[in-house]
């Protein structure tokens, strides 16, 4: 039969053979070259990346910059040359394929038909059927094995995750009881709708729902004469400079390090750790200083939810049992020292002051979902201060202070109502709201009273020592400034005139709080003062040595003072009646 093959068939066959051989050789060459170049390019990329990072610390070194630029050029040149060669290789290969295809067509069209005599096996079909049965059984078995492996892997991963979470219970209370469960599953727990603002503020008055307490006068009572005695002390598993918040019989604090950010819930009765709930991993872990840490902002809590924000920009919301309700990542935080603005809870709205070095935004998040209700950017500067709300029948204004200016925002719409420049330094103190006025003082900026509606400065006093961390407090018409130098300055809240000064050995970082008409302040040495507001002189009606260094602001609820010490311990003092 082969003698009968026409010439065109033979020519096409030979051409096809050459094309096929060329194609095989070309494919082998291209694949081996690309494999080699791929490895080389990866190595070069790694070296270049390292050099780029190193040269960032030498911005003025032109020689180093030139080396990096030259290397970068060589890398790019090599990369694109490789791409061009690959394109050429594929182009040549495709051409050879086309020739091969044309030859194949020619061969098929010119070749005589080859007839094949079938095998004479009448039982072939039965044999094939039996083999198909075996093959089907083997396929089903293979599918089941794959399914079993997948099922085991899935369940092992789930068990490992829970085990890791359970295994990280640490730092139990001194009382030895760790009720703690950890890592609540991320389940959206249905909750009742949040209260409107007036009802929420009223409800919060009986607790300690945020930084420096409730937005309306706190309803917790302090006996006229009392003595403080320590009830319990519990270690918080992760460090943080945020102050405790309290709702009912639960204390909430947050803690974080580079690896983990979590909310911790302690029992007010005995300090037992009830649960902890962690965030997911952030995309970026920024660098922070040791005296700010990753959990400087104080939490907020209402009757259903607890909220925390961390230096990674993550906002976490849980219910009171530790179930994560939602989590939100704000844009990458870029601020010197680390993010420190505490949360402001205003009924159904969670206010987050996010003033970074390059962008400044005031966020209003829906407490049920974490989504933006509004987000107002403004042209200010960095800030470590926290927003303050003045809410009455006429207005709901949020006061925000930053390094360059102060601003007033409308709570309902987020609109920037007014701005007032004149700030300066590094603003870490927060204002206090009273009598339709915001009172503010920060070292390097000013001590002033701002009209809530217009931002007009009603008075200012630049001639007194001012705090740089502790926020002021206003009581009985007197503005108290507790400074980090140890001075307590009092100003007339109406006109800003200095009234008197008291000095202590050590300074105040912790912000004073108003409890039942009296001021409670703690200095860095752990000296707790209870001060009766007065225009005439400094009247400390109570002193207590906590015995630990304190930077965070105390919380007060149900006749108990909760203080977070610098060594990350929660100390609970009971204000027992002392007739």
């Amino acid at each position: 039969m082969r003698k009968d093959r026409p010439l065109i068939y033979l020519l096409a066959r030979n051409a096809a053979g050459i094309a096929a051989a060329f194609l095989l050789l070309l494919t082998a060459l291209v694949v081996s070259e690309q494999r080699r170049n791929h490895v080389l390019l990866l190595e070069a990329d790694a070296v270049l990346t390292t050099m780029r990072e190193q040269v960032k610390s030498l911005p003025d070194d032109e020689a180093a910059l030139k080396v990096v630029r030259d290397l970068d050029y060589l890398y790019r040149d090599g990369y694109f040359s490789n791409e061009r060669r690959l394109h050429l290789g594929i182009g040549l290969g495709s051409s050879a394929l086309l020739i091969l295809a044309v030859c194949a067509v020619a061969m098929t069209l010119s070749a005589p038909v080859e007839l094949k005599r079938p095998a004479d096996d009448s039982k072939e079909r039965l044999l094939q059927l039996r083999r198909l049965q075996l093959a089907t059984a083997a396929s089903v078995a293979l599918l089941l094995c794959l399914g079993l492996l997948a099922w085991r892997a899935t369940h092992q991963n789930a068990a490992t995750a829970v085990g890791d979470a359970m295994g990280e219970v640490g730092g139990g209370s001194d009382s030895g009881t760790v009720a703690g469960l950890v890592a609540s599953p991320t389940i959206a727990v249905p909750a009742a709708p949040p209260l409107a603002l007036p009802a929420a503020l009223a409800a919060g008055a009986g607790h300690w729902p945020g930084f420096r307490g409730s937005l309306v006068p706190n309803a917790n009572r302090l006996p006229p004469h009392f003595r403080l005695q320590q009830v319990w002390a519990s270690k918080v598993p992760l460090a943080g400079f945020n102050s405790p918040v309290v709702w009912g019989d639960r204390i909430f604090v947050s803690g974080a390090d580079r690896r983990e950010r979590a909310i911790f819930c302690f029992s007010l009765a005995d300090g037992a750790l009830l649960w902890r709930a962690s965030t997911g991993a952030p995309a970026v872990v920024p660098e922070v200083t040791a005296d700010t840490g990753y959990a400087a902002p104080t939490m907020a809590v209402d009757g259903q939810r607890a909220y925390a924000v961390f230096a990674t920009g993550q906002v976490l919301c849980t219910d009171h049992e530790g179930a994560v309700l939602w989590e939100r990542s704000l844009p990458e935080p870029k601020i010197l020292y680390g993010y420190a603005s505490s949360l402001l809870l205003a009924g159904p709205d969670l206010i987050v002051q996010y003033d970074m070095e390059e962008e400044q935004t005031l966020y209003c998040l829906d407490v049920t979902t974490g989504k933006d209700r509004w987000a107002t950017p403004w042209q200010a500067a960095s800030s470590w201060s926290s927003p303050v709300l003045l809410a009455d029948e006429q207005r709901q204004v949020i006061f925000v202070a930053s390094n360059r200016k102060a601003g007033g925002f409308d709570l309902a719409s987020g609109r920037l109502l007014w701005e007032n420049p004149g700030m300066g330094g590094e603003v870490a103190c927060s204002a206090v709201a009273a009598d339709s006025t915001f009172y503010f003082a920060n070292s390097g900026a000013l001590a002033a009273a701002f009209a809530a509606d217009s931002g007009e400065i009603l008075w200012r006093n630049d001639n007194v020592p001012m705090p740089d961390v502790a926020s002021p407090v206003v009581a009985a018409g007197v503005m108290y400034l507790f400074t980090s130098g140890g001075s307590v300055i009092t100003l007339d809240a109406k006109n800003g005139e200095e009234l008197y000064e008291e000095n202590f050995d050590n300074g105040f970082y912790s912000s004073p709080v108003l409890v039942d008409g009296r001021i409670v302040a703690v200095n860095m040495d752990g000296l707790l003062l209870v001060v009766e507001p007065s225009r005439d002189s400094f009247k400390a009606v109570g002193r207590y040595e906590i015995g630990k260094k304190v930077l965070a602001t105390p919380a007060f609820a149900q006749q108990r003072l909760i203080i977070r010490s610098m060594d990350n311990e929660l100390v609970c003092l009971e204000a027992a009646n002392d007739p």
């Binding site: 096809a16 394929l97 079909r125 089907t136 794959l146 079993l148 959206a188 990458e332 979902t369």
Partner: protein
């Protein structure tokens, strides 16, 4: 990677510059309709060549033409092979499905519903590549061929479920020939393409038979077609010369006069198969359900959430952090995708189990003895090889040439 674009700078203000009007949608639409037109013409001529002219040469030329036009000129993408993913994504998610894509997907199926799998020979550049580069046929044993075809069904179902749950079009990544048509720059794909072509030299159409998801749909449609390719233009004389001519195993030999097993044995086997079928279906459904979790990893959102929970930094996690999208929203999206994958793959597993049992039952079924040679419409790709070996076909052609139906005088 999710990218959020933002106009940060005003357009440059050049003097006397007129910004050209760009109508990208029209350009894309025109390309699609041109592709449709070319495909329609090719299918038309393939039908004529398969049914009227009965010429393997013409079919081969049409195949070469489809390789050139639809393969290299139009770079084979988009092509009907993977387009069912677009259709499913458009149906179950908010993926925008255009009319052109829908027509391109439906046209070969519509033709197959009446005329069989003409697309495989005259409209598919992948099939053409394999057809033209097949030189030496090694017959795949029947049992291996039937089991191998279940792989195509599995790929169809997995690709479909993934697309319908918003996981993207991953089946296209598995197309070994795409790197050739698109002059791609992936050397790994090139190596796979080379291996596939080499395999195709000896095994006819390996991708079409064992990996092509669209072929499964075409097979189902072709089974319902009223018109079927006939091996012979006249009456079959059972000379058996065509038995080994089809490299695709599409020729069905008649039952031997003397049965190789007793009817009772056959009935018993069929009974066993029927009894086992529900268990096989349930087990395969469970296997599909179990495989859903690892297969979820192809979803972008699932991978992103795993990176976030695993504290891994990547471009995607950085982009997510900057987007301001709530994590709870991501978790909800992932939960929904997982749910869809579980349901879809459970059903897919059951379908694969059912298909395997039906294949077994079909082979177990004994037809009436003495039937002539016929073509399995679901497997026949209209290559025309059987025309050349059939002596009755040759006689019929000679007779037609000698005595044409209408006499024409040639000058």
């Amino acid at each position: 990677m999710i990218v959020f674009a933002q106009m940060r700078f005003p357009r440059p203000d050049f003097e006397n510059y007129i910004e050209p009007a760009m109508n990208l949608e029209t350009q894309v639409a025109d390309g699609m309709y041109l592709r449709l037109a070319v495909l329609s013409i090719l299918l038309l001529f393939t039908g004529l060549a398969a049914y009227r002219w009965r010429s393997r040469r013409v079919l081969l030329l049409l195949s070469a033409l489809s390789l050139l036009l639809l393969g290299f000129v139009f770079s084979a993408c988009p092509c009907p092979v993977g387009m069912y993913q677009n259709v499913l994504a458009g149906w179950f998610t908010d993926y925008p499905l255009t009319l052109g894509v829908l027509l391109l997907f439906a046209l070969p199926l519509a033709v197959a519903l009446y005329y069989g799998r003409l697309f495989c020979m005259g409209g598919c550049p992948l099939g053409a590549m394999q057809e033209l580069l097949h030189f030496k046929t090694l017959q795949v044993p029947l049992w291996l061929d039937r089991i191998g075809r279940q792989l195509a069904l599995a790929l169809l179902l997995i690709g479909g479920v993934t697309a319908a749950s918003g996981g993207g079009f991953h089946l296209c990544h598995g197309d070994p020939y795409f790197v050739i048509f698109s002059f791609g720059v992936s050397w790994t794909h090139l190596a796979v393409a080379g291996a596939m072509i080499l395999l195709g030299v000896f095994v006819c159409r390996p991708y079409c038979r064992y990996m092509c998801p669209y072929g499964v749909l075409l097979r189902v449609c072709a089974l319902a077609a009223p018109r079927k390719i006939a091996i012979t233009g006249g009456d079959c004389i059972s000379c058996r010369l065509c038995e080994q001519s089809c490299p695709n195993g599409a020729i069905v030999a008649p039952e031997p006069l003397k049965a190789t097993e007793s009817p009772e044995q056959g009935r018993r086997r069929l009974g066993w198969l029927l009894a086992l079928a529900p268990y096989v279906i349930i087990l395969c459904a469970w296997a599909g359900y179990s495989l859903a979790e690892p297969l979820c990893a192809v979803h972008h959102d699932v991978k992103l959430l795993q990176s976030l929970d695993g504290n891994l930094r990547s471009d995607a996690t950085v982009a997510f952090a900057s987007s301001g999208r709530p994590l709870s929203e991501l978790r909800d999206s992932v939960a929904q995708q997982r749910r869809r994958m579980r349901i879809g793959l459970t059903i897919s597993g059951a379908i694969v189990g059912l298909a395997m049992m039906l294949e077994l039952m079909a082979l177990s079924r004994r037809r009436s003895p003495g039937r002539t040679y016929a073509v399995d419409a679901g497997l026949c790709v209209a290559c025309g090889r059987c025309y050349d070996v059939c002596p009755v076909e040759h006689m019929t052609v000679k007779l037609r040439k000698a005595c044409p139906p209408t006499a024409k005088s040639d000058a």
